[in-house]
Amino acid sequence: MSVDHTTVRRIAHLARIALDEADVPQMGEELNAILTFVEQLNEVDVEGVEPMSSVVPMRLRLRDDAVTEGGNVAAVIGNAPRSEDGFFVVPKVVE
């Protein structure tokens, strides 16, 4: 399978990465080089093989549904590019 320029633009949008129109051809070439490389996986007979879900056999632990810590507003927003009154500030989302 190979990706065309429309697909490159669509993937970039899905990945939320702005891609300059001038960069589309080269990115497409690079993605196709990787997709060609992984094509050899089609040779393998995977009939009846379970996809791996955990590399070490383990049961996912559940923790108690309890408050472990809190009240750290200053630490939580301390690295925010913009914040106000203990909130993260983003451009208007709802019209």
Partner: protein, 515 residues
Amino acid sequence: MTDLTTFTLAEARDALRARTISATELTQAHVEAVAKARALNAFLLETPERALADAARSDDRLARGEAGPLEGIPLGIKDLFCTAGVRTTAGSRILGEFTPPYESTVTAQLWRDGAVMLGKLNNDEFAMGSSNETSAFGPVVSPWRRAHPSVDARPPHAGSDEVGRVAFAAYDDTKLVPGGSSGGSAAAVAARLCLGATATDTGGSIRQPAAFTGTVGIKPTYGRCSRWGTVAFASSLDQAGPIARTVRDCAILLGSMSGFDPKDSTSVDRAVPDFEAAVSRGVKGLRIGIPKEYRLPGTPDEIAALWDQGAAWLREAGAEIVEVSLPHTRYALPAYYIVAPAEASSNLARYDGVRYGIRVPGRDVASQYEATRAEGFGREVKRRIMIGTYVLSAGYYDAYYVRAQRIRTLIKRDFEEAYAAGIDAILTPATPSSAFAIGEKASADPVEMYLNDVFTVTVNMAGLPGIAVPAGLDSRGLPLGLQLIGRPFDEETLFAAGAAIEAAAGRTVLPDAWW
């Protein structure tokens, strides 16, 4: 007075406990070495005040006889580990001046045990790379240089005391990569800027740079070290581990870095063995597997010869060498380049310019995300996020991602069958070549760089422990390493067998400071 930066970690620990040196003088010597080595670009952030304050505390504890296992030992920390109050970048521009309000579990355990922090080490952006050239802060320069082609750099005979002791008349001044993604860690340890360093390994990022720099690096079993507070790349593959100058030093560091952590849901609740004790266990009676599928066409003769030499050393030390078959080996790298980018595309979705890092304004929230990520991520990271997004997208998920995870099951099964047949560990080359020059692989085809990890990536796909140990120099005087792959949670056998190779090969003589 002896140069305090030439100690191994174990020697420094013993000298500190015997009070023949102080933590402050040991740290001061390393702080000075770091400041003199800026041309290597190994450190992204130096923390000399913190280091000297840590050392003063260590001297107090040493005086009171309350020394921890790493008391007063100066370490470098890969900039993928969050350090409370100390800027953490993951080698990326997108995190800006991010200063974590918390400490990663692995580093917290090092400080608990008395270690001293010298600073944060350069790495490939989000650990995506095999040469440290994808770092937003520029490449790391290896302390190693090629001998001039007119000089015969080959050691007189491997296994003698002379290995690595050849004085080269002339060096080529081409700057070489230290490998990656833990390139800063490997370069700093090889250049004697620190006694050991933390590193992480998703496809070979500890073992490949260790092999390129004549240092020792171990990736433990998945689940041995907590991933909490380490910047995530591919969560089902990522593991922390140490790089140091000897097998023993790695064993000491891994002992402190390991252990159950309820904050990481994939951390394994299992006692941490005495890794250092395993170093002197010997290899008598061990069955070491040689996987025939690792004899790749195009592997340089020197690598094949080194591998045979490694097997011979282990046999002479009392191990039995057995040929094994791992039939799905060749599919590990392509399957990795589906699984790892898929997980990365999901993990790196968090960098959106809202909660931390840089923000590039847009006309609405979606265009702000797109502009921020376009500006903040480098080319390799963007490419991997896009591949990951593609293989997870509707209509392709089964053909790519699910198929790759099925193949991963087969790769793991190959190892399980070898171990079930009585194999204790598997010996392979660590890398398909010695270190290459900065810029040498800057071709348009990213797959060429990916091939660096062909011998190491299987280990991550199967969640197994793997160690890289220096085993000799190539004809240009550059280090080559061998890899040992162990059973799950049997790092001890890797330390025992790694020490046998180290003893037979002779300690690598590291380059004198030219930087």
